[in-house]
Symmetry: none
Subunit: 539 residues, 2 copies
């Protein structure tokens, strides 16, 4: 049996301290569900005492039944002078109703003197009192010793005293935090070993990446005796980020034989990484170890043939293990393996050597070059394949649309769209307003098509995302629009790319509806509305 | 005297193996000059035997007098069966006319058998023969033991034999390469210590980042006895990149007391990092340790108030040491301390307890609730504060705009905007086209304002980002637009939020221009264009 390591994810708390990282309460719940499926032990959701948005997440989380993960609320020790049961921060931790709490306290005399302005003894009492209170309230307590390594280097005896205070008060895990991220790997090893010999409680590590050693320091601490590791997906976090769990987990589990997550989940690591970056709306880092798009990219020539003969020659692990794939750059083969990987994943069976197969590959390569991505747009991918392999039905033809947006001197805005569609020999011209140009176009399209396909009224739009692909071109940049449509509990994604956001949105919107009609095998009905002579004459 | 470490930069060779990294020969020369000024010991310029562009660089480099750095040409050992003096690859190395050569050879029997298809003894002869030939030709020889760590783990004896062959033939440095990047830090330590005890030559380390341990492994090897470290600026390189010298150098020199570069150069590290990313045309990584824009950015309220009291509390080194600077971010996590720090930085005399101070905080909270984020939009923040504390000048009034976007049955699109602005008593009505509605509005606004403020033509748009805030509202969702404008090397960010993407863009675009005019203290000039009676009548 391999040794188990507790994985503690703080993407939703420390991760959101990263610049440009921000999640809605709804996003947080979606990520928590994915982390639960993936087999993360602890999910730190936020700091309920400091932020109303975090409280909204805990309210949502209460109503969800997590199968593996424990949700954790984060907060500080009691304020000096407060009784624990009267302390607003501790009360907020109880109110979050999570099974576990992570509580941070001071280990460094500098902070005790300068930030808290209390005596060293008072600080020890705050730690003990707060933990005892939380334990009395039935919480599992993860004690975060903030600035532990700096504190230890400044005054070893006092730093260890704070840990002993936490241990004696019943803390379940004691986490050594390199809060400033300035500690070097060999120091981590030495200090964690010393702590292991000084206390009996389980030890954890919380490292940051300010010296580009976040992952190394987490691994070194585990090798030195820690059994609990804190980090974030993709290493998001304040300043240079936290220890990146997407590297820590495979290093520990695939290379060192520790048990971190259920073995069968490891192949979902790459998808998890992408999912979180999508919701954070941050561009995934191609160079990211293990899960990045370039992590197993090989150039043509000797490397490729060597890899084909024996992958060990140029790959440190098999990419499939973490759900990534090998890419062969500057080669016809790369496209084929990519696409067959993708279509296999989406559950399509088509012959890659057939004429249609070759055409799909060609078209996909062209689209990917233009900035399309089909990972979150299975419906667009399926439409593309259907178009090439079978007859995609013609549900409607766009005769044209026009979107107008006006703003006046008083700052009042108005957006309006007109659209003309043809279904067989019948034409419908509709106008609609919206709170923005895309919303107006969406409304006009639905209004026009409902005349022929009333079932469209049951389709809802679940999500609309915009990503600028090449920001340096300013407002002339290309954008990718991702849309999730839903009906009756099932949902599907479509994608559009253009320099014109309305064109990109049009493609994603219209494909969302075509996909729905195709799956319903819809047939158009004759319009029942009265037609005005003028409108007909424009057909 | 602190121990000297040789710094070997391979940005121009291994760095260009990174996906999307590519330099012209002229770019390479510019970077080499900067690396020389910075005090890098060795600059590997390319592989003259494999690539004509690399040869063009060596031709240029010959004519430049480097004051500190040695230029290095890279190549492989002699091909099996060739005499060294007849081997095209070795001849190209001589032809490059560099003082030093880095020569790679095989250490791993797997490669000897499967890639070279020769006997282990023949491989040793290739190593010896090639090095002897280069030494006879007066070269300093840096021997790169490719796949050394994998080879060592597979067959320690043979791996060490290859090093001894190199040593006996006169190699000046023997570099242990973790070519696949799969070696863990504690393995590096153990193996480098063993090698140190087995050979007398100077030892170097060449690490990759596939386990996110590239920097840790370089540092560990130095601590274990190596005296030469190879890496790239910003960690560019094949797959997940090489050891990042922008982190390795400060870790070694500022934290461990080794001497890597002249002390007075350290403060140019951040600029060097940006310079190379500019020439590579890659977006700088804000999260990059030491040199990134966010490396000393503080977001949490607790952190900010502590940093203001004593910077050591949340900063592992002083940002000035590497030419970076502290930044305070504003967000929903921010408390009063962030706001007052920010306004201090921007030069506002800001009393949190004053009437204006309270109003600013109230307004900020309101805007943040609506989805505004000011962390990347300092200019919008400054405009907000100015509005409350002093008279913000009126540069222009919007009388109205209209944006039209049309698509016809052939799928052709057209976007056009008209705008009417008033400056004092003069009105300008302009129309412009764009490749999308926002681009058209941007063009029309600039065209109209250039009539009064010609200096606007020097402002460029650097970045345009869109984020959907509440995706579940579909196309009716709120969006946040972030714009970076720039002029003459300085840049500033503005933000707009609306359910209407054009309104949100309008706010960010117009504030970007107002901020510029305010800083320039611009005064409007009278229009010089001929005015048509009809246009005037609309005023």
């Amino acid at each position: 049996m391999s040794k188990s390591i507790q994985i503690f994810d703080t993407t939703l708390r420390d991760g959101t301290q990263g610049e440009k990282v921000s999640f809605s309460a709804e996003d947080k719940l979606r990520i928590a569900k994915r982390l639960d499926e993936f087999g993360i032990d602890y999910i730190e959701g936020g700091w309920p005492g400091s932020n109303p948005k975090d409280m909204a997440f805990f309210d949502k989380a209460k109503n969800h039944n997590f199968s593996h993960s424990k949700i954790v609320a984060f907060g500080s020790t009691c304020r000096a002078g407060n009784q624990p049961e009267e302390d607003p921060n501790l009360k907020a931790l109880i109110a979050a109703e999570t099974p576990a709490v992570s509580l941070f306290g001071k280990s460094w005399l500098l902070h005790v003197h300068e930030a808290l302005k209390i005596t060293p003894e008072e600080n020890l009492e705050l730690i003990s009192g707060s933990i005892e209170f939380l334990k009395k309230n039935g919480k599992e307590v993860i004690y975060d010793a903030e600035h532990f390594f700096d504190g230890y280097k400044d005054n070893r005896e006092y730093a260890l005293k704070t840990l002993r205070a936490a241990e004696l008060s019943g803390a379940d895990v004691i986490v050594l935090c390199d809060t400033n991220g300035g500690t070097l790997t060999h120091e981590i090893t030495k200090i964690v070993e010393d702590v292991s010999n000084s206390i009996d409680a389980a030890i954890g590590i919380h490292s940051h990446n300010d010296c580009e050693l976040g992952v190394a320091n987490a691994v070194a601490a585990i090798e030195a005796g820690a059994v609990h590791v804190q980090g974030t997906i993709n290493g998001y976090g304040e300043r240079c980020g936290n220890a990146n769990l997407c590297s820590v987990i495979p290093n520990l589990q695939l290379k060192l034989g520790y048990s971190c997550i259920p073995e069968e989940q490891m192949k979902h690591l790459s998808t998890l990484s992408k999912y979180v970056s999508e919701l954070a709306n941050l561009i995934p880092d191609n160079k990211q170890p293990y899960v990045g798009r370039s992590a197993f990219a090989h150039k043509g020539g000797v490397h490729v043939s060597a890899v084909m003969k024996n992958e060990q020659t140029y790959e440190h692990v098999k990419p499939e293990l973490i759900g990534n794939s090998r890419r062969v750059l500057l080669s016809e083969l790369s496209g084929k393996s990519n696409i067959s990987y993708k279509s296999d994943e989406l559950g399509f069976d088509f012959d890659k050597t057939s004429k249609e197969g070759a055409e799909i590959i060609k078209e996909l390569k062209k689209l990917e070059n233009e900035g399309y991505q089909f990972e979150a747009a299975e419906a667009s991918f399926e439409l593309l394949v259907k178009q090439k392999t079978s007859k995609k039905p013609d549900f409607f033809h766009l005769e044209g649309f026009r979107v107008i947006m006006e703003r006046n001197a008083k700052g009042e805005s108005r957006a309006e769209a007109t659209i003309k569609v043809r279904v067989n020999d019948q034409v419908e011209l509709c106008a609609a307003e919206g709170n923005g140009p895309v919303n107006a176009l969406d409304a006009a399209l639905r209004k026009a098509l409902c005349e022929f396909y009333p079932e469209i009224s049951t389709v809802t739009l679940q999500d609309y995302k915009v990503r600028v692909l090449n920001g340096d071109d300013g407002t002339g940049a290309k954008v990718r629009v991702l849309i999730d449509s839903a009906q009756d509990g099932s949902s599907w994604g479509t994608v559009g790319v253009s320099e014109n956001i309305i064109d990109a949105s049009w493609k994603a919107l219209s494909e969302g509806i075509i996909y729905f009609l195709m799956n319903k095998k819809s047939k158009p009905k004759h319009k029942t509305t009265i037609e005005f002579p003028l409108e007909r004459s424009t057909a």
